[in-house]
């Protein structure tokens, strides 16, 4: 009935990693293209207001393993975005780049800005089939 509710933003702990999703698309002729998922900090304010659900979808949900059953759907969506008659996408690999935030006391007390190196994690590779590219 829709009575369920849960309000756990930043609880019990706020996010300690910055994560960004992108995909590598390999076409039939073996050429590749990188597709960057919308990043809020790169958008103008009014644009980010409209695109905030992208952050929710990717950062909070799709990259987490409980939602891995949606990875093929997500890959098919990316493939459809890159549909190119005569040179269709064959593989879609979804990656997440994540970097830890510097520990708070260290960052605020010592003022030493030490960027932690980002880790590149391959979530999933999907082999695109011709029916995937057709709008249903």
């Amino acid at each position: 009935m829709g009575l369920d509710q849960d309000y756990s933003m930043f609880a019990p702990k706020p996010p300690t990693k910055n994560r960004h999703v992108f995909a590598l698309i390999t076409f039939h002729d073996q050429s590749t293209v990188i597709w960057f998922y919308p990043r809020m900090e790169r958008l103008k304010y009014w644009q980010s207001m409209f695109k905030e659900r992208y952050r929710k979808f990717a950062n909070d949900n799709i990259v987490e393993s409980p939602f891995k059953m949606f990875w093929p759907d997500f890959a098919r969506y990316i493939a459809r975005l890159h549909a190119c008659p005569g040179n269709e996408p064959e593989l879609v690999s979804i990656y997440v780049s994540e970097e830890d935030m510097i520990e708070a006391q260290l960052a605020l007390c010592t003022k030493i800005a030490v960027d932690s190196p980002p880790r590149l994690i391959k979530l999933f590779t999907y082999k695109v089939e011709p029916p995937d590219l057709k709008a249903k």
Binding site: M1, Y7, M40, E52, R53, F57, F70
Partner: protein, 322 residues
């Protein structure tokens, strides 16, 4: 003796209980809340429109079939009852948008609220992965609003009702009172939001050591307008973290005590405005601020609106006549 105990029980427990839920109160605060809530629902729709088919369409990021398999419980979703195409989604969404406008102006209020609730529930069920806390709370508040007399003040329904009364030779009905149990459910729901966040946060190590606000303010995807100094010093970050917990506790429990209610509400408004300024959370903060209208006493609301209208007209006069 037994009679005395029963009388005492009645005066201490049963009467206050009945008064709380059923003693009629003015519907004006509810009417004002309905207007702002309607505006937020319209904003929800406008924010969703550009990517409607990405989130809810048949060729969207996740398919309806996958969502239906993933969800362990059956959820009411009218999109499942419609043919799986974007034309039907557009029709449902247009109906929702019109209902949101009707809700805001208070026209066919109860029916509009039912349509809004069913559509919100269906959109939530169609793509759980895009949901945020604001969506969840909107859905719940629209459910309670169905059972409330939200259309009896500041509404087209009320105007039409008065026209009907005048035709029948009766005077206008301006001070409408009704049982407040649905409004109480909304108030309790708001308190529960804060209670849950408070109790979930208080066990977290970063909330205990006072650095939680540092992490939330350094989450790049949610950064909005900068607040220099405050997020860059340990003592300010700790003060903000612990103040957040204290305010959330107050909004969960102390808001029920009338003498301090408006101080608690003022703190809540300040907290949400700071969050709205510094973080990209499009609707939740404003939804919480609007929900405080439900806690305003009708007499205080009258004073507030007359003060506002008086000063507003003075300002208009000044601007207009120099």
């Amino acid at each position: 003796m037994l009679k005395l105990i029963m009388q005492n029980m009645a005066s201490v427990i049963i009467m206050p209980w009945n008064n709380f839920w059923f003693k009629p109160i003015s519907t004006k605060p509810l009417g004002v809340f309905r207007i702002f809530f309607g505006l937020l629902i319209i904003q929800y729709a406008l924010l969703l429109i550009p990517d409607l088919f990405v989130w809810l369409g048949k060729d969207g990021m996740v398919s309806g079939a996958s969502i239906n398999i993933w969800q362990s419980t059956v959820r009411l979703n009218i999109l499942n009852a419609c043919p799986d195409n974007d034309l039907w989604l557009s029709i449902v969404f247009l109906t929702f948008f019109i209902a949101a406008i009707f809700l805001g102006i208070g026209f066919l209020t109860r029916i509009s609220t039912i349509v809004v609730f069913v559509c919100l529930l269906s959109f939530d069920a169609r793509n759980y992965l895009m949901l945020n806390s604001g969506d969840t709370l909107m859905r719940l508040l629209s459910l309670w609003l169905i059972f409330s007399p939200a259309g009896r003040s500041f509404s087209v329904d009320h105007k039409l009702d008065n026209i009907k009364r005048r035709k029948q030779g009766m005077s206008n009905d301006e001070n409408i009172e009704a049982e407040p149990w649905a409004q109480r459910l909304m108030q309790i729901n708001i308190s529960l939001v804060y209670a849950q966040t408070f109790f979930k946060k208080i066990v977290g190590i970063f909330w205990q050591n006072g650095t939680a606000v540092y992490f939330s303010s350094h989450f790049t995807e949610m950064q909005h307008l900068p607040i220099n100094y405050i997020f860059d010093h340990l003592w300010t970050v700790q003060l903000l973290t612990w103040t957040t917990l204290a305010i959330e506790f107050s909004l969960a429990f102390l808001i029920w005590f009338k003498p301090i209610r408006y101080y608690v509400v003022a703190l809540g408004v300040i907290m949400h405005l700071i969050i709205d300024w510094s973080m990209l959370i499009p609707q939740f903060e404003w939804l919480m601020i609007v929900s405080y209208i439900l806690f305003i006493e009708p007499d205080d609301l009258d004073r507030l609106t007359s003060w506002f209208s008086q000063h507003f007209f003075q300002l208009v006069k000044k601007i207009h006549f120099g």
